[in-house]
Amino acid sequence: MLEARWLSGLVRRRRGRLVSITVGVALTVGFLAALGSFFSAASSNMTHQAIRSAPVDWQVQLAPGLSASAGLNVVASEPGVAKALAVNYGNVSSFSCNCGGTLQTTGAGKALGIPTSYATVFPKEFRYLIGAHRGVLLAQQTTSNLHAAVGSRIQIGLPGGSHVELRVDGIIDLPAANSLFQAVGQPSALAPQAPPDNVVVLPASLWYSIYQHVNAANASITQIHVRLANVLPSDPSAAFSDALARAHHLEARMTGQALVGNNVAALLDAARNDALYANLLFLFLGVPGVVLAILLTGVLGASGGDRRRKEQALLRLRGASARRVVGLGALEGLTVGVVGSILGVVLALGVGKLSFRAAHLKATGLLTSGWTVSAFVTGLLVAVICLALPVLRDSRTLTIAEGRVALGAPRRPLWARLYLDFVALGLAAIVFIRSASNGYQVVVAPEGVATSAVDTTVFLAPLLLWIGAALLSWRMASAVLSRGGGVLGALLRPAAGPLTSVAVASMRRQRTLLSRGLVILMITSSFAVSTAVFNATYSAQSRVDAGLTNGADVAVTAPGTTGLPSNLANVVQAVPGVASLSPMIHRYAYVGADLQDLYGINPRTIRNSVHMVDSVFTGITAPQALKALASRPDAILVSQETATTYLLTPGTMIRLRLQFAADHRYHTVPFHFVGIVREFPTAPHDSFFIANSRYVARVTGDASSQILLIHTNGPPPPVAAAISTKVSPLSGITVRSIDQQLSATLTGLSAIDLSGLTRLELTLAFLLAAAAAGIVLALGLVERRRTFAIAVAIGAKSRHLASFVWSEAVFILSGGILLGTVTGWLLAEVLTKLLTGVFDPPPDHLSVPVGYLTALLSVTLVSGVVAVVTSLRATREPQMDVLRDL
């Protein structure tokens, strides 16, 4: 059977070509399957983490008048609700304690009534510090305010003026106080409500016995806390929409008698944005890699085209129909496709195991994922297109006689005549400028809106830049070869000697081959450079982000607005590994009716402990901002959001209300607005102020610091561990290193194990760049095997051939690497700008992964040199199979 004989012949006689195309298909499939499955798993992981991190999925607040039992019955019967428990929130006018011989009194607070099983169902709401886990549990900050302890007797003031005395059974921390005491139903545009400073948690029965006699209006509210069953989809956007829809369904059922505080939807809202950015990263970083792998496979498939055409023509001469010849090409493509795709899936499994351990990408998951199937089909298509399509094309456009002769002189390509390179670059610039004018809003996901999307048109900017730069590189290379003979001759003369003009002429007439090689190397180099620079910038920026969230290498934070012990700074300074530290004041200040965070710093010394980046300030650099803050005692930096919300402009006086130590009341304090800040270490992302700590301490009469920012001269984790031993666990003080923050951050793409993705991309880029250099040169030389054989036959020596080959190799390698590096850098700039949303804050400049780029350059050069040396070695002996055809 002809088909079997043909395949057998190919395996025996064209093994190298088949193997190289199979490897190309395997790389394509492996990369696509690994990357796609990784992102799929990462999205699912994001959803899982978001759901898991919600202390309570829903807080259903019942309207006054609706009994807890009635509300509980309705909520519990809602589909998807796994557990529902009623929680009562009672207002407390004051807490007081006659402890340690002095009477301490606090401001207003809350008394929570919880059922006995609450801590089991919602374990993340309470952290038990000391004493019993049941009974009267006093919040740590309240304990501190009252100077109370386990066993102390405290009085709580009830609405209406009565008091109740309680014995403290245990002391707890409320890690999720913000959501626990959220104002359910409050419009999202309003600033979140600060949790109460004073809280006591009581058994439900005790709470009822206390509050059943309280008749004052709005004395208490009832919420049903809900744990949802595992019913949400794995995709973050779908899960977000589902969580919203379920909540709306419940609200509709309860006909206005309940409002749902949808904690899980809020977390999924953030996760879906992260997932969209993950998809963007896939588009920006992953797709080019796949395209490149396909391109290289195509180049391999196209190699030996002349020989294939002759074989095809011979088959036709021997009587095979055009259809049968095409069928043989398709059979070859399918065989290579199946083998390559299977190898690719195996490769993806290996890569997944090595790179994505942290993403829990299981082999079975990979195998069953749609991505693997898609990748497999892609592999088949790539192989068939690379191997069968040229056969089909030739069978339609060439006669048998034409197939047996070499093709004619290359024509100027259509794109060059239409100047598509300049068109593509122009369009890329237009798309980029348009994105810039929109503030690089790539992900369109309005807060609270169920639908979100990626503005995929921005993808056109880097894509068109890549295509335009590649075509322009082709045009430039071709122009140099066709019109730069003088320059080329001068450059080649030292190596080529009397053969210079022949070498130049040879290069000029082979400009299509050489330009193709240069452009392929340029494309792969640009991919590697842009990926490496982007990933390095991302990695560096993740650390800056973690630094902003954590504050410094190590941050010591007091609970609430409680001051750190006055001697703690001295104690910490003595800990080995501490290079410097900066105390920071944290207070709350009213701007209008809105309570916002206010931080007091020493602008002259804070940079000793904290890495400040320019991009967190608007219109000024970090040193300029700190200098402005130091310029006058009452200077203040205002967050972008506050400045926008309250129409504040730098240079004006603003008045805030701060709590004074003397009377615990809020008083107006004037500040001079000197600049806008977008983010600041330890500060929230939205609204806050940065002022001089001395000024804040003086006007409020309270010099206590709430935060210590520490710069270490070694790895932060051991220093943090050492500091932790110096603080009492009862104090509520937390010690956190930047590394803990990096691993704990759920914002941005930290939710994905990006290091695995980075490893995969950088490895692929490395392989592609190395393979491209080797393949381009080796194939170019293989295609001219006949030329070299003739040259050797008429008397050319190795040194003569070397002058030809090295001239071309230097042209391709230097041009490809140089143009690829420039394009890669531009691509990284564009990607970084377009993915501003991924970076938080945006980087001041790109990071250069010197080690990787050096290794990349080395491996590319080595690959090219090996290809040239190997080819030259092969030309030392006359190629008998070629000579026998002469």
Partner: protein, 231 residues
Amino acid sequence: MPDHTANQSRHDAPLVRGRDASKDLGVGAALRTVVEPANFDIFPGERISLTGQSGSGKSTLLHLISGLSTPTSGVVEWPQFGSIDALRPTFIGIAFQGPSLLAPLSVVENVALPLLLLGESERHARSAALVMLDRFELSELSDKLPEEISGGQSQRVGVARSLMGEPRLLVADEPTGQCDQVTAFRVLDIMDELTKERGCALIIAAHDPKIASRMDVHWTIEAGRLARNSA
């Protein structure tokens, strides 16, 4: 074992000397002896025709003579030329039966190449190439690329190139196989003139008895066995 070391009266050392030289091609089951062990000498100025059927081993024998391949057994030596590395293009010129021009080079560049390989200046090589092309009546093709000329023209350019290094032995493997008879004889005339002018020995493989008859010495090869017919 056939002995083709005739013309013992000659005093010069041979240009090429083959002793028990054989050549195997292929590997494994496909291994076959293409040239059986043969003894031969080619002396200065000698004009030899080599005839035989397709696949009889003509080209392989010419490859052994011109140093393009080495014998599987026995020896091939070039007593007057030195080592195998020094043969081309200084001492031996080769004209092939198929298209053998370097595709990226123009006709004149192809013809000038042997001189450039010998280290001649570009200007001298080019002018000499133009003279040679003129001799072969190919001047009008000098700036054409190989793909722009016919097979016959390409073969004539190849013959012109083979004579450029002023070789002392011209090895021609059916050098006019793609030319019409008139052109073929014209090319052979020029080859005759040039080789005789320069005292260049010539061995030419040919199917056409008319071409073979123009030579002084006739070798035949059948199934790899070399035989000498006449002198």
